[in-house]
Symmetry: C2
């Protein structure tokens, strides 16, 4: 076929090259790699000549205006930090908020002559500064020439010019470098790079044009400026409190927040958008997928880290993550929410931690939690695989939602606790609270998931021998029983359930549920007839170690005799609703006369449950039963949170110094081993730890610390005690 002298012949293919595979480059894919680090930067040249040199080379630029000094006016008592609500930051740099003017003082070599001198203040962020991307912004002092950031001269005195600069209300949030450039006809001459002139620009809830604008000073004070918080837990009818030091203004915390975004490789250009920042952070606060901040652990074994119950604040966690660059061990939901809250408040996005009591979980947006009973009405623990968390904490943050139709701005749910099934990634939100309330769950992000957390039905099935199941009772009010957050400005609880749901039975409630079903939420449709026997479990407030009585009240609403075969289960559960071990099982038969109420009392001895306790010391009682005469099923569930002993801690003033004291007595008849006590004073004292290898039964300890408060104002010290046998002991006291 070919008349060439050489005919090619096939040969075995060469072996693939050995050695490590080269690192992927972006060559051919993008002109420059995406700029996703706020810590790397490119220096802007000191001299930029226009055009080619003349016959005698470039002319000197020194004959033009020269810059002698730039004062960032960054002292906490100067107007920049006061006016921008950043005076609490413990930082060496100027920190301001976008969409609001700040001042810098520039000293020239001679008085500035507006008619002939041309200069610009330049801001640069990231390694690939570009005007059209908002990563390079020149600011001019004259009205005639303005960029996206406004500039004006607010004062002139001798050689000193004070310039007012207003960053765009949607500019990138992060750390900028600052230069002053003098424009000459031959070129541009700049100040040398000087790190002390770096400045941080944050979100601004006080600026009407900012997407996080929140027009309520009390809320802003709470959700941006307040460092000390309360996180609710326990049970809806027996709420417990946990103090938390968010510490968003502590030294190093702001840098840690920027590091988190760098670590996530979030493009710099996205960092002005609170939707993108909060979504990214919800993924990054947990270690799943991306080596993020906190490792979740619900197992009870915290040997290789700090028990979730032991943390009292976010500062330690954020600073350790930044210095070790390794995920921190360990967290459970309130730790995720608390550290996320620090991140949000630090960057200036208004935020709060909320607690949802009886939170349906991991059900992938389905509105059903299944409890399987056998044919006799006894719970089948092998087949009951869903759990309802006693409580779950997440965050709300405040922002407009230009990506959604009008009406869905305001509070948004974000959740950093790794969920198994939220769109396949360990992140959640921002989901509009308004959209959740109205069942408009078609809007991003993850609204369907949060809707299910507050709206799921608990469905009791009776399983027949051949494997099929029939729903026998549907409880539509158990899940999402109450949503709490701290009131702004004081330490009381605020019930915000009605921001998530319309009241039971209102038309709007039905409409919202129907809307959610339209968008694919699956509910249990069957409506099994209600039994004519009611079963009520009372609210109990029990301290750890108490013996107590559990009273079951059976109410026969029929005019006939009823006989109930009852199963009473008492077990120790994790706060996730997962059963650890059963400590009580009774099967009484209860006879009920027509229209009669009968009490059945079960004695619960502490020695039975104490040895099984895990973690947060929750007892879970499930009572199920079948009415002989009608075959109907009755059920009742109750979580009892055992109250812990408190640590007494006190704060007192000793001239300049303060004194904080922790006191603890081991109330048990056994020794406590491996005990950590942690003390910290938000804004006044960094966290301190003590370790006691043994605290014998009945013995007491006293630990006193002297310290000089970092700053004036209210002083509060919180303390926790943590050991394998006893978790979640804390106390706090305020100076008055």
């Amino acid at each position: 076929m070919s008349d060439q002298s050489v005919t090619p012949t096939p040969s075995p293919a060469p072996p693939p090259p050995t050695g490590p595979r080269p690192k992927m480059t972006s060559r051919g894919r993008t002109t420059v790699p995406v700029d996703s680090s706020n810590s790397s930067s490119t220096d802007v040249p000191e001299i930029e000549y226009f055009g080619a040199p003349g016959p005698r080379g470039f002319p000197p630029l020194t004959e033009y205006l020269d810059i002698w000094d730039v004062d960032m006016m960054k002292r906490p008592d100067e107007s920049n930090k006061m006016g921008h609500h950043t005076m609490l930051f413990n930082s060496d740099y100027l920190i301001v908020r976008r969409g609001q003017e700040f001042q810098v003082k520039i000293t020239f070599n001679r008085p500035y002559k507006p008619a002939e001198d041309k200069f610009a203040v330049e801001f640069v962020i990231g390694s690939s500064p570009q005007y059209s991307k908002g990563t390079y912004i020149p600011v001019f002092p004259t009205k005639e020439r303005q960029s996206t950031w406004e500039g004006r001269i607010t004062n002139t005195s001798d050689n000193v010019v004070t310039m007012g600069i207003t960053p765009a209300a949607n500019c990138i949030v992060g750390k900028y470098h600052m230069y002053v450039a003098v424009l000459t006809p031959h070129g541009i001459r700049r100040t040398k790079r000087d790190n002390s002139r770096d400045l941080y620009i944050l979100f601004n809830p006080w600026a009407a044009d900012d997407a996080v604008f929140l027009n309520d000073e009390k809320e802003r004070k709470e959700c941006v400026m307040t460092e000390m918080g309360i996180i609710y837990h326990g049970a809806y009818d027996d709420v417990a409190e946990r103090d938390w030091n968010y510490g968003q203004f502590n030294y190093g915390v702001l840098d840690a927040c920027l590091y988190i975004m760098d670590r996530s490789e979030m493009p710099i250009t996205n960092r002005g958008d609170p939707i993108k920042v909060t979504r990214k952070a919800s993924a990054m606060l947990n270690s799943r997928d991306d080596e993020g901040v906190l490792v979740g652990n619900w197992s009870g074994d915290y040997t290789y880290g700090v028990a979730p119950t032991s943390w009292t604040g976010s500062t330690d966690i954020l600073l350790s993550y930044t210095s070790s660059k390794m995920p921190i061990c360990y967290a459970q939901c309130w730790v995720y929410a608390a550290v996320f809250n620090t991140f949000l408040r630090c960057l200036g996005i208004p935020s709060r931690v909320v607690t949802n009591f009886y939170s349906a979980h991991d059900n992938d947006g389905n509105l059903k939690t299944d409890i399987i009973l056998d044919e006799n009405g006894r719970i089948d623990r092998n087949r009951t695989r869903d759990s309802i968390w006693n409580y779950h904490c997440w965050n709300e943050c405040y922002m407009s939602r230009p990506d959604l139709p009008p009406g869905f701005g305001g509070w948004q749910v974000v959740d950093a606790t790794p969920q198994e099934t939220s769109d396949g990634m360990y992140r959640c939100g921002p989901a509009s609270v308004q959209a959740i309330k109205h069942g408009q769950i078609c809007y991003p992000f993850d609204a369907a998931f949060v809707f299910a957390e507050v709206n799921s039905d608990v469905v009791f099935y009776s399983r027949s021998k051949d494997g099929t199941m029939e729903p026998v009772k549907v409880n539509r009010t158990h899940v999402g029983r109450m949503v709490l957050t701290k009131s702004p400005g004081d330490v009381t609880r605020r019930d915000i359930t009605n921001q998530y749901k319309f009241s039971e039975g209102r038309t709007e409630e039905r409409t919202a549920l129907e809307k959610a079903e339209e968008y694919g939420c699956k509910r249990e449709k069957s409506d099994p007839a209600l039994a004519d026997v009611d079963l009520v479990l009372p609210t109990l407030e029990i301290s750890i170690g108490d013996d107590f009585e559990l009273n079951l009240e059976f109410i026969n609403r029929s005019d006939e005799q009823r006989t109930a075969d009852v199963y009473i289960n008492g077990s120790v559960v994790y706060y996730t609703g997962v059963t650890s071990s059963e400590f009580l099982f009774r099967t009484p038969t209860v006879n009920l006369g027509p229209q009669k109420t009968v009490k059945e009392t079960v004695m619960v001895e502490s020695k039975k449950y104490m040895k099984h306790l895990v973690e947060q010391a929750n007892l879970h009682f499930i009572v199920t039963g079948k009415i002989r005469e009608t075959g109907q099923i009755v059920t009742a569930m109750k979580v009892v949170t055992l109250w812990m002993i408190n640590i007494v801690s006190g704060v007192a003033k000793v001239s300049e110094e303060m004194m904080a004291t922790v006191e603890f007595t081991n109330p048990f008849s056994f020794s406590l081993e491996g005990v950590y006590i942690r003390m910290e004073g938000p804004g006044v004292m960094m966290p301190k730890n003590r370790y006691y290898s043994l605290i014998p039964a009945g013995s007491s300890l006293t630990w006193t610390e002297l310290f000089i408060p970092h700053r004036a104002g209210e002083t509060r010290v919180i303390a926790t005690l943590d050991c394998p046998a006893l978790r979640q002991v804390h106390g706090s006291l305020q100076d008055h």
Copy 2:
């Protein structure tokens, strides 16, 4: 403070334990781990007694009905595979589609007596079978007792019962185990686990109740049943074609698709939802984040794998991934789209590959691509960092969208090519094409991103010396110039641009753009005055190695003299629009009389561009200029795709055998080194490779393969040649 004899004293905290940190468990977090593997399974017991044994132990169950044999009726010519459109699958198992009846034959030890015998056919998927999760489904032969899947007896003859089973139209898609259970008063007796009775259940575009129902037989034939496809590339005015063998019915491909979902740890319970399956797969088809199927590489260096241009089909890729469990090297957009298409068609989700010409990329949902010119109108390559892909391929798949308001079902965009900025994850879609067309980009998933890919404006900025920039020209028609896919049933092109956009200038177009802007898409608002001089670049069809003339046409529409200072840039670009190297630069000045048209011709010599060629051999010409009299800017851009020489391949019948021949002559004046030639025949011949270490200049080769077709019908063989100096050579021929 304490009167105890022992007072605890603090001691140094013990060192943390050494050794590897224990693997995280789900203890305390969930009752059972999420079931996310279709390959692991739990055996169902052969005997399940009810209640406790009697005084003489359990009674024997053998006196009841016994099962002798189960016939899955899985031969390709039996009604199951024919009726379910699965006859093309090369598989040892029964493969059916959900929402449609299939038959199994059960042989008992005696005739079945409906009045007294009770049996059920049971289906189990995953390791945690549960009725309420749809992972354990009993099917009963009687009307009185029905589960979520319908059963009925369609025939009875002697001991043999034929049972018709209809899986729910929303059931989980994957591989099920099947059992037959006989129910006796004392317990349940089952068939032994027998793998040959396993069956696959797929999505069903033929079933009206299935979310992927597509009511058009021609489309279904193309988008589910067709194995051979055409993928378009090149330029909108000079379209090139690439044959691709999707091979969705090849041996092992269906298992590979299930393995991909297992590897992604997608919960089994989500696998009936085409929205979740396609979203997960879009993340899993690329190796970023999750060790998915294909490693992207645009660098031109493919030493450590197969060049993207070298692949001819998906089978190799999917089978290698499944056996090696390692990402496969390398892919570019059409490889991602092609393998994704195999995945979708294999599972029964109607899908097609589409090509968008001039696709805006990595711009994070902003509707702007920036090109920076200096003050003289010359392109500033250092500052122009956005690129427009010459073309980009993605997939459309067909499904209803119950999670969105009505009107957004139908074709959905999914894209597996790793984008830098799609919601922070390397995945994209499903995004409703209808939503994109109407600018309703607030609906999940990633509609804003795809909207920008077809609707961005190209903005030319003039950059002044002080660093500020001013838009001088906005081209609103360049991007998303044309969207193509293969016509169903034949090999012609189908222009589907109007499914993504309304025609230029129509009211609806403006409305859609305004809607998108409402939802946060940022457009260039300024509308710089059009220059009164037009610049036109002609369409060119050039073969590789040709010298050619580039003709620039300047049209002066004013009544005055115009002078244009012009910059002509010719460079070699990747198909991603990224510049590799400049090979031509001219700066003519063009004088234009009033109302005159002037042609400027530039000679382009092959020796100038040949040595710079990369990959797909695209030349990019950008002409910019400034009109001296008015200061206005003129611009024109043109991508020229150089046509490659073809490989001649032929197919002929030799009695039972077929013969395929590849012929190639090196047309260059230099030798080609390290040449791979690959040949495959969709459905008739597995891929084969040959390697030639050297093909001297001008020499020819002939490679002939004999093979016996796997099955009857049309025979088509495609071949590609690939070496570092010459990519993208292919050919195909059909038997007639």
